[in-house]
Amino acid sequence: MSVDAFFFADDLFGVWRGVASAQQVWVLAPPFGEEEKSARRTLTDIALAFQKRGESSLLFSFRGCGDSKGDFARVSLIDWRADLTNAIAEAKRRAPEAEIGLLGVRLGASLCLQVATAQNDVTELVLIEPLLSGRSFLSQQMMRQKIRAQMTGEASAEQQTATEWEDLDGWPLGPKMKSELQALDLMKQSFEVRARTRIFQVGPKTEVAPPLRALSEKLAASAEAIVMPPFWNLLDYSDAASLLRALSS
């Protein structure tokens, strides 16, 4: 079993785990910004679990994020969908006989769903807490900043000097990305996904919440609630055992 950290498609940094002869290869799409940092350990745990059962994976970062090249303030969701398509091509190149699975977390999951619609050869799709609405994601981020500002005494979002971009937890959100995120609404989009699709809700609830239930019905997907802390929000390590168990079924 090999582990290889490398750049592909010029700008994208990825970590490959597995063998060329694998029958299943997964492209792992992270969230972005601070969420990517927090989710990294769990995504690596997922990659290791796949490797243990003989499946290969490519965990990459979208351009402008993680160790990938690019200016975060200048990228767009169109760029990131292209990055995901490039990651799929790289995974196919490395394991030519394998079936392709996409697994995404948060925005990474939303992008996986959008890209899977255009990719006939994706056979497995795993969406972990997909962002259903970019607009509500942005308002949650603003709330988060407000909370931190009040707790630490730092300048709040509305006190920041107006610039071309807004600050998203230290990540400069360019106008293009902002308007694309505001327009993102998975419930209003139509999808033709051929892959077996599984949606996972992660949090304290044992029942899948109505919005994710509605998405699962729209996609004819299964939906399951995993009781564990929202790992993409945490600085500390969270035990991913329950998620890994669910993924193995």
Binding site: M143, R144, I147, Q150, M151, G203, P204, P229, N233, L235
Partner: protein, 81 residues
């Protein structure tokens, strides 16, 4: 009001994955000091209020003081639900 406070305590335990029985949380116990509620945890409580009580907190409504104790949260929920 007592029922509301119990539900709030349950919400706190659930959303923060605390290893305590909800009834052990005192109505006036300082949540931030005693349960290590930081900005990340506080955000989870904001989400919990929305999910469990249908109380949506707008940016302009937000005050850390609302989350000091179970009693302060209960007052906010009562005033806004």
């Amino acid at each position: 009001m007592e029922d509301l406070k119990q539900r709030i305590k349950q919400m706190i335990v659930d959303h923060l994955f605390l290893a305590v029985t909800p009834s052990k949380i005192g109505d006036d116990e300082p949540l931030m000091e005693n349960y290590g509620v930081d900005s990340v945890a506080l955000f989870e409580l904001v989400v919990g209020l929305e999910e469990d009580f249908g109380v949506s907190m707008e940016d302009r409504d937000f005050s850390v003081d609302t989350f000091r104790t179970v009693n302060t949260i209960a007052k906010f929920v009562e005033a806004n639900s």
